[in-house]
């Protein structure tokens, strides 16, 4: 690719420059590279580096909404270190991410395998599967909030008033563990389509001839899955896993709309706690510190997903053994 670009440029240089310095400037490769990168660098600076830098700066100030605040070093982080609510949000986030991601992948993969078969109304079913993902999160969160309502839950209604299987309504969100599990169920429901459709795309790229060859060799269904599907699905699996972990880790809307971190802060994720403290609570510095604390976790989680699952030689462009 490099030679294709360089060749005409070199030819050009032999011709006496008709446009003078401007043409020569544009023929100067480092300048051209700089120029072409400028829009991207500009976009990244404005929309990524600046907010990130500002967030880190804010985390080291005592800013509130309404006051610029002073630099206080790492005081916010020291305070968080002694704050049981913050540590609760950290463990909640890790638990939430781990369990919800596992659930999404187990069910998503299963769904993708089902949809990959020749079934009637395939296109229609695939479209239906996407629904939880298409509905705006806040709307689905409100739907879940009604499902989990202590007074108006459809689940309680069916089990208590219709089927008479229980004599009292469920308190889905009233105790810490019930609330955490309820939130995970909602998150899994919402996350399945992404995993299923991504993995389905991966499944479609696997050549049927591999399965045919395996069939001829007398491989069982499990063997075909284990030896063909899984290895060939791994690259896309690692990407989907990374994205899914990131989405789940930084989830905000579901939790905020359903519990607001309650009961007594036991369902706060780091993202909801950061928002809670920064915006309604007006403690911008403290909120920013919580948000910044998410960064190391996110980096570790990303690296784990990407290298843990996806470290294969073919990923680095080498041949498989």
């Amino acid at each position: 690719m490099g030679t294709a670009i360089q060749a005409p440029a070199r030819d050009h240089r032999f011709v006496p420059a008709p446009g003078g310095w401007l043409t020569r400037l544009f023929d100067y490769k480092p300048f051209l590279v700089f120029l072409c990168l400028l829009p991207t660098v500009g976009l990244l600076t404005v929309f990524l580096t600046y907010p990130l830098g500002l967030g880190i700066w804010l985390s080291m100030t005592d800013s509130t909404i309404g006051q610029a605040g002073d630099f206080i070093g790492l005081e916010n982080f020291q305070d968080l270190w002694d704050d049981p609510v913050f540590w609760m949000s950290v463990t909640n986030t890790i638990f939430y991410t781990t369990v919800a991601t596992a659930g999404k992948f187990a069910l998503g993969l299963w769904l993708a395998l089902l949809l990959n078969n020749n079934i009637p109304f395939k296109a229609f079913l695939r479209a239906i599967v996407l629904l939880p993902w298409i509905v705006p999160t806040v709307l689905s969160a409100i739907a879940w909030w009604w499902i989990y309502s202590p007074q108006f839950s459809i689940v309680s209604y069916l089990l208590v008033d219709v089927l008479h299987l229980s004599d009292r309504y469920f308190d889905f969100l009233g105790t810490p563990w019930a609330a955490r599990c309820s939130l995970i169920v909602a998150n899994v429901w919402r996350g399945i389509p992404f995993v299923a459709i991504t993995l389905l795309a991966g499944l479609q790229t696997i050549s049927p001839s591999l399965y045919e060859a395996a069939l001829l060799d007398g491989a069982t269904g499990w063997q075909r899955f284990r030896r063909i599907t899984v290895p060939l699905l791994l690259p896309i699996l690692s990407v989907a896993l990374t994205l899914s972990v990131l989405f789940t880790f930084s989830d905000f809307q579901l939790v905020y709309a359903i519990t607001r971190g309650g009961p007594f802060n036991t369902t706060h994720l780091m993202a909801t706690l950061a928002f809670q403290r920064a915006i309604p609570g007006a403690q911008l510095g403290e909120g920013a510190a919580i948000a910044v604390s998410m960064i190391p976790f996110l980096i570790v989680a990303t690296l784990l997903c990407f290298f843990g699952v996806g470290r294969r030689k073919w990923q680095q462009g080498e041949a498989n053994d």
């Binding site: 909404i65 309404g66 202590p150 309504y169 009233g174 105790t175 607001r260 309650g262 009961p263």
Partner: protein, 446 residues
């Protein structure tokens, strides 16, 4: 004292315009006024004003406000633009206006804003004293929010407050053996126990509900003589009284409908509307949504609904506060006199009376004279709201009003303290310590 170089006596033009309006509204006849020296500010030539206020509660809140504003423009020639801002946005917009020194000339914002941004505001002492003298004085909460902490200066002019007394079903409370909400705490617990026994439990939110949860937590504290901070703003939560409040909350929780820990601000409204609870604590909006419903079943609930103050406990006055709004004028305005004249105009009986009446009890007046307006007596269900601002209690009581009190509210510090104890997840001692620690952090930075 009322005469300064900025004010003049009623001009003949203004007089001519306002006289017929006085006669036009019977409502203002109910408002007794003291014969004080009139106050009027002369708007700067070519003045125009930009006003921010919270979004309407009910339609008349906005239409009468706009009609009054138009009357002001017609009288003074000052062009006024009024923007109504969502409730959750008004605090942040006030912060932006205060910090950028640009934007609205007058903000009718939440009570604490006048204190938080006092260095950016024009002094309104003259106006505050004039209104107080003319209209029978300010209620205690009006003075607390309007005046500088520990000083005589007026930072903002309180315009109204919306309270949250006990809302209950008369028939069920009667069935439980009570004609009224008991004034004492053991009686109240007994009522709630009996309500539960007859299958109509009460419900008070300890969920993350900014309005309802904090109102209930505040009731629990104040009715036991406990408070968040002392007069100097030092955290005073870790006290014997707080422990008693938590013990009481534990007992009361046993009588409540299950699920109150998950209620957000509409949780109790929904449960009450569905007939699942007999008693809760709420603003008058719940009653009106039932009364104005086209569903006869809901209308029947409205007819059965009554409002009364929450039990006093050891408090001498009802242990409730209200969400108050105050008008403030920012120093960056080019037309301070026009701004002050606007506030004065809106607070005078000819304008304020019809507005207050039109708001149907959503707003309670901060000036005592307006409590004698007839509409307060016409519907006995409204009586409990008529004196919402007659209270020394505010969120952050007894400390100076600051941004910290709002942070405590919005972080549910007190709500969570009670919630963790009533569920048995934390001991009262630990919960109080944790809450005190959290609150301390906000009070330190404020």
């Amino acid at each position: 004292m009322l005469i300064t170089r900025r004010n003049t006596l009623l001009g003949s033009a203004a007089l001519g315009a306002s006289v017929p309006l006085v006669g036009a509204r019977a409502a203002v006849d109910d408002v007794p006024t003291a014969n004080v020296k009139p106050l009027q500010y002369k708007p700067e030539p070519g003045a125009s004003l930009h006003i921010l206020r919270p979004a309407k509660f009910v339609d008349p809140d906005e239409t009468i406000w706009r009609a009054n504003t138009k009357k002001f423009s017609d009288t003074t020639g000052v062009e006024v633009k009024v923007d109504l801002v969502g409730w959750e946005d008004i605090a942040s917009q006030t912060a932006v206006v205060a910090n950028t020194g640009a934007g609205a000339d007058v903000i009718v914002g939440f009570g604490p804003s006048a204190h938080i941004y006092q260095s950016k505001l024009i002094d309104l002492t003259e106006l505050g004293e004039y209104l107080g003298a003319k209209y029978g004085g300010w209620y205690q909460l009006g003075q607390i929010y309007g005046r500088k902490w520990g000083g005589k200066e007026w930072l903002g002019i309180p315009m109204g407050g919306t309270g949250g007394p006990a809302v209950y079903r008369q028939s069920w409370v009667k069935e439980a053996g009570y004609d009224h909400i008991p004034r004492d705490l053991p009686g109240f617990l007994d009522l709630c126990t009996k309500l539960q026994k007859i299958g109509h439990p009460s419900g008070f939110s300890l969920g993350h509900a900014v309005g309802d949860g904090n109102a209930y937590a505040a009731f629990l504290l104040w009715s036991h003589g406990a408070y968040l901070v002392d007069e100097k703003g030092k955290i005073a939560l870790d006290s014997k009284e707080t422990q008693q409040a938590m013990k009481y909350a534990v007992e009361l929780q046993k009588t409540l409908i299950p699920g109150t820990l998950t209620w957000n601000d509409v949780g109790n409204n929904q449960a009450y509307t569905a007939g699942q609870i007999s008693l809760t604590q709420n603003g008058v909006s719940l009653y009106y949504s039932l009364k104005n419903s086209s569903d006869p079943a809901l209308k029947a609930i409205a007819a059965d609904t009554m409002h009364e103050p929450m039990p006093l406990g050891v408090s001498k006055v009802r242990p409730e506060t209200c969400l108050a709004i105050s008008a403030t004028v920012f120093k960056h305005t080019k037309f301070p006199n026009a701004a002050k004249e606007y506030i004065r105009f809106m607070m005078e009986a000819e304008q304020y009376g019809p507005w207050l009446e039109g708001c149907l009890g959503y707003w309670c007046q901060p000036l005592k004279a307006y409590s004698s307006m007839k509409f307060w007596q016409q519907d006995p269900k409204l009586t409990a709201y008529a004196t919402s601002m007659d209270t020394p209690y505010y969120h952050g009581y007894k400390g100076p009003i600051s941004a910290a009190a709002a942070a405590v509210l919005n972080n549910y510090t007190l709500v969570d303290m009670f919630a963790s104890v009533v569920t048995g997840n934390t001991t009262p001692q630990e919960a109080a310590k944790l809450a005190a620690r959290q609150a301390e952090r906000y009070y330190k930075t404020a």
